[in-house]
């Protein structure tokens, strides 16, 4: 009896590592990320559904991002058109500006710029909010009141970013094209109908599908990274700052990797 007690005590006192503390922690972290994603897909389909919170988060992510997205998208459209003109002018091909702008914006810049802005504004905000809730025990308070904090905080926010980033991407694309149109109209006196005719001629259905798929992926990534970093935040106020910061950095890093991978897949489909 005494021996078994000693054995149990020893088990709780010393912890053995499979490889080393650091390597074990790395694999534990990989497993935790995997489990966090798997839990999202497990919880998203089963009741209770937090519709009201999803709508609230959609408003936070979507509507509240509109001013920043509008200004940034518009300026990008103008600047990109302005910077592209001299190169095309060298070949006397300024008439191709609308096509160039549309391909660049629809295929890459629209989704990427929207995602980067959202990672900065929304991702950091989610990371900081959940991190702060973790360190002030609000997440524990939810849990002890028999409310699933993962469902209320994580599922709702990830759904909101996954739904709203594609919508914001469409909006950014439109605003950027408008910015581009204003610049083209000012310099080449092109009408809006001619401009948009050329825009739609230059892009294909595959471009729109690829852009949509990318923005859904970007939205999911931003929400998931922000929630993960916030949900597992620790070390008090320092941890909250770290959660906000690493949410942005990690999300942006993943966005560029995803952009690269999706671009390769789309190019392969196109046969390039």
């Amino acid at each position: 009896m005494d021996q078994s007690n000693n054995k149990t005590e020893n088990n709780t006192r010393t912890r053995r590592y499979f490889i080393s503390r650091r390597v074990d922690r790395f694999f534990m972290e990989v497993y935790r990320v995997w489990a966090f994603n798997a839990r999202f897909f497990r919880e998203v389909f089963f009741p209770p559904y937090e519709f009201r919170e999803v709508i609230k988060q959609c408003y936070e992510v979507g509507v509240r991002s509109l001013p920043l997205i509008s200004i940034t998208g518009f300026i990008i459209g103008i600047v990109f058109t302005n910077q592209s003109r001299p190169s095309l002018a060298d070949f006397g091909a300024t008439s191709l500006l609308p096509a160039l702008i549309s391909v660049a914006i629809v295929r890459a810049m629209g989704p990427l710029v929207t995602a980067i802005i959202a990672a900065g504004r929304v991702g950091s905000s989610i990371g900081a909010e959940l991190g702060s809730m973790r360190v002030t025990e609000q997440i524990d308070a939810m849990e002890v009141s028999a409310t699933n904090p993962f469902k209320f905080l994580v599922v709702t926010r990830v759904l909101a970013t996954t739904f709203m980033i594609p919508a914001l991407t469409m909006y950014t694309t439109l605003v950027s094209l408008l910015g581009g149109y204003l610049n083209v109209h000012q310099n080449e006196q092109t009408t809006i109908i001619t401009f948009f005719n050329q825009v739609f001629d230059a892009i294909t259905f595959l471009d729109i599908i690829a852009s949509s798929v990318k923005s859904v992926l970007f939205g999911y990534t931003i929400g998931m990274v922000g929630c993960y970093k916030g949900f597992y935040s620790s070390k008090g106020t320092e941890g909250v700052g770290k959660a906000a910061n690493t949410s942005v950095v990690t999300a942006m890093f993943l966005l560029f990797i995803e952009e690269l991978i999706v671009m390769q897949i789309i190019n392969a489909i196109r046969g390039i």
Binding site: T8, E9, N11, T12, R13, T14, R15, P48, E129, S132, M133, T136, E137, Q138, D140, A141, E143, V144, S145, A146, T147
Partner: protein, 259 residues
Amino acid sequence: MTEKELNPNIDRSKKVIFIRGLKKAFDDNVILRGVDLDLYKGENLVVLGRSGTGKSVLIKIISGLLRADAGEVNVLGEDVCCITPREMDTLRLKIGFSFQNSALYDSMTVKENLEFPLERHSKDMTRADRDKLIDVVLEAVGLRSAINQMPSELSGGQRKRIGIARTLILRPDIMLYDEPTAGLDPITCIEINNLINEVQRRFNTSSIIITHDLTCARAVGDRLVMLLDGEFKREGTFEEVFATDDERVQAFYNYNFSE
């Protein structure tokens, strides 16, 4: 220092919490080394101990926020180590947890904080019934006027009261208070102590109060236990717990009253 009167409502034949051989460690740091504890129906049990001795860990294990490494933790007839998450949620509805820093949802008003558990667990309740219940618990903690305020607009003592109101709204059988008087001025401490006793009388709860404030311990505790080296070394009334030559216990007593 006010001493608590004898509580006639304690039912010594009915244990609501029963813990045997509870062990918990974080990496190499062993916190609980075999804790045994009984909480009787209608009783206020105070757990004393220095910071970092595992008092909060104990109630987090009872509420299922942490898992025990070894031992039996039986709450209202359910072994919390072995039940399913769904069963745990059902059990949690019978346990109220008042956090050290209140843990109010800071993006919600006081009313929304109180509505939050009701919306999820009392779906058949009408809005009028909900409002009435919110009114009852706010009245019980003496803060009806704060209903539309944000947590950031409340003082520390008011936040504690609202935190207690939020746990009371689901009418729990057991209340767990984590450092209820920490960081509060002496007058507010007395108000919180009175509130804990009032909650016990009015809602017929059994409570575990975690504290290192001896004034609070004496005012609210029907029975006290002292956690030393990961085990309960002393148990009994306030006088019984401190009637010892153990230097650590005496140091705890002397430090509290020399502050």
